[in-house]
């Protein structure tokens, strides 16, 4: 295990299990997730839909409806306190103040009946005990900070008068108004066009430096990740299969699923007309996740043990960890396919 620097450590999630009770049975959405975030850094959680990345994020914020959801096990240590044990009431002092969230869909996550300025003021009045006038001033400042022209006018408008990109900026303004220590951005650019996506990513990077906020970026887009993240955790079927620094994951990936993710997207900058290498099959059913490695059924390198036993954590470096039996000393040596293609 990597030595965690206690001064830098902001959030540590330990062995988190989250399940949902449904009519069809228990869905084990998150099945033992461990990660940490240091102050001021960006951790990207990458994975496909249904891998549990959003559930993990929402659990940190306690936004999971319980029931049907429940934290079966694990702890969420934020600044020394275990959020998993917080009551709903107590969480209110954390949400928006210590940890904020930006959601995927800016169209549905703003209140359509409330002026945008007022939506920013809400948190300020509640958490910072500001007067209405102060809060209003600060709201305008925030709108200016996120790059909206004529912020005074914008503060008096309703969300429907904003475009998609502007709404996402407004969301970011709301999220950052109280200077949270951690911003959780759940697919913040997925609903946006690429030119707007570029604007929002630049903005988030910029604000992170200005405000020294840590970011958990949840996404499936490896391109966005390359731009902004310091460290990456790759999630699959409710578990983190590989984690490491951005360079380690992009240039020395060890897990076949990570290889698959990197290899199945065409790259704009490479002149290659060869076939894409898809990951065949589909992710496992989380009603009854497989006993062994969840990726075994789709993995080209699966061995007998992969189907029987979940792989332990193998440390490649201090920062790079992977759950894959290929790292075991008895496993055959497998070169990762990206190295041969000479793409890097």
């Amino acid at each position: 295990m990597e030595k965690l620097n206690k001064d830098k450590l902001l959030l540590e999630v330990k062995d988190l299990h989250v399940s949902f009770d449904t009519y069809a049975g228990e869905v084990k959405a998150v099945r033992g997730v461990n990660f940490h975030v240091n102050r001021g850094e960006t951790l990207a959680i990458v994975g496909e839909s249904g891998c549990g990345k959003s559930v993990t994020a929402q659990t940190i914020m306690q936004l999971i409806p319980m029931p049907p959801g429940k934290i079966k096990k694990g702890s969420i240590i934020f600044d020394g306190n275990d959020l998993a044990k917080y009551s709903d009431k107590k969480m209110e002092s954390v949400r928006g103040k210590e940890i904020s969230m930006v959601f995927q869909d800016p169209m549905t996550s703003l209140n359509p009946t409330m002026k945008v300025g007022k939506q920013i003021m809400e948190g300020l009045i509640k958490h910072q005990k500001m007067s209405k006038e102060e809060a209003k001033k600060r709201a305008v400042e925030m709108l200016k900070l996120v790059g909206l022209p004529t912020p005074e006018k914008r503060a008096e408008q309703y969300p429907h008068e904003f475009s998609g990109g502007m709404r996402q900026r407004a969301m970011i303004a709301i999220a950052l108004a109280c200077n949270p220590k951690l911003l959780i951005a759940d697919e913040p650019t997925t609903a946006l066009d690429v030119t707007i996506q570029a604007q929002i990513i630049e903005l988030m990077k910029d604000l992170q430096i200005k405000l020294d906020t840590a970011i958990i970026l949840i996404t499936h887009d490896l391109g966005v990740v390359a731009k902004i993240s310091d460290r990456i955790a790759v999630m699959y079927a409710g578990v983190i299969v590989e984690s490491g620094t951005s360079n380690e994951i992009f240039y020395k990936p060890k897990h076949p699923y990570t290889w698959g993710l990197l290899k199945s997207v065409p790259r704009l900058d490479l002149e290659r007309k060869e076939r894409l290498l898809p990951i065949y099959g589909t992710p496992p059913d989380l009603f009854s996740p497989p006993a062994g490695c969840p990726f075994a059924a789709r993995c080209d390198y699966a061995m007998k043990i992969c189907k029987e036993k979940y792989p332990q954590k193998f440390g490649i470096t201090d920062t790079h960890h992977v759950h894959c039996w290929l790292q075991h000393e008895m496993a055959p040596e497998v070169k990762h396919p990206l190295a041969e293609g000479g793409t890097n």
Partner: protein
């Protein structure tokens, strides 16, 4: 534009306006021209609201064009009678973006795929069933799936069903309207490979509409870029990426993130200010004027012509020499 013998489809000055009441008109597609050769893939890219899907829908006849014409295999699609129209729809098919919304939830897969076969009276009885089984296998599903309903399938599988439905009546031309954008990355590659294989095996021609520029570059022979109802650039896929001429294309390409941290760190990005303006009563002149950093007085008055500036490289811009 040059039209040789191999040209399968030509759009000439195609326009599609939507009347939204109160005298306001959305000019979704405002005079675009292009041609597609038999067996090629033309990629059509642009941001949401630029009119790319409207182009696709107008071409296959889901919308009636406001003005301009679509020539398919020598026939003017706008002037077909009922019988000819039926023949045309057999030759030009469409695959839709949302695999959840584009399959009737109350129909079995057999009925979904068989509907076109019945309408065009291609096969009956046992032959029809065999054809459906064959199609399922062609798209990578199996015959056991035939009696199931759409809700029993994943997104990727549904998209395969959509493809099988389009193929059922042996089309020559398929409009693929964002066929992969609702799918996960690992599934996207499966569907793109399938589309490529089908093109090789059946000699299909595609109009591939998407906003994912990396994927469009991968699959297309030529690429057309649209902005606010107008076509701003059209070139061979390689040329467009190597030498984008239009300021919008340049910005669009530079905005696409590349999954490589070192490249990303050193890359200079052209960040466009503002958003795409509304297509309701757009300003005269170039549609991109409001966001273009090279804007000249002429751009605000006269719409630039779509001209050939390099070999097979067309651009609509006053500034590009």
């Amino acid at each position: 534009m040059a039209e040789d013998k191999n040209t399968l489809l030509v759009a000439r000055d195609l326009k599609k306006y939507f009347d939204i009441g109160r005298g306001q008109v959305v000019k979704a597609v405002d005079g675009i021209s292009f041609s597609i050769k038999e067996g090629e893939t033309l990629g059509l890219v642009g941001e949401s609201g630029c009119g790319k899907s409207t182009v696709g829908r107008t071409i296959v006849g889901l919308y009636d064009a406001t003005d301009g014409e679509v020539i398919f295999d020598g026939m003017n699609v706008g002037e077909l009678d009922k019988k000819e129209k039926k023949h045309f729809t057999r030759k030009a098919q469409m695959i839709f973006q949302d695999p959840y919304a584009s399959l009737n939830p109350r129909m079995t897969i057999t009925d979904i795929i068989g509907e076109g076969i019945d309408i065009h009276e291609l096969y009956e009885g046992k032959e029809r069933q065999k054809r459906i089984y064959d199609l399922l296998e062609v798209v990578g599903l199996s015959r056991e799936h035939a009696s199931r309903f759409p809700h029993e399938f994943s997104g990727g599988q549904r998209q395969r069903i959509g493809i099988a439905r389009a193929l059922a009546i042996e089309p020559r031309f398929i409009v693929c309207d964002e066929p992969i954008s609702a799918l996960d990355v690992s599934i996207q590659a499966q569907v793109v490979n399938l589309l490529e294989d089908l093109q090789d095996d059946l000699g299909l021609t595609y109009l591939f509409i998407a906003h994912d520029l990396s994927m469009v570059k991968h699959i297309s022979d030529r690429i057309a870029v649209m902005y606010l109802g107008a076509m701003v650039e059209l070139a061979d896929s390689h040329d467009l990426y190597e030498q984008p001429l239009h300021p919008y294309t340049q910005a669009l390409l530079s905005a696409v993130p590349i999954p490589d941290p070192d490249i990303e760190k050193s890359r200079q990005r052209i960040i466009l200010e503002g958003d795409v303006p509304s297509p309701i009563n757009p300003p005269p002149g170039c549609k991109f004027q409001g966001r273009c950093k090279y804007v000249q007085p002429i751009c605000r008055e006269v719409a630039p012509e779509f001209k050939e500036k390099g070999k097979n490289h067309f651009v609509a811009c006053h500034v590009v020499k």
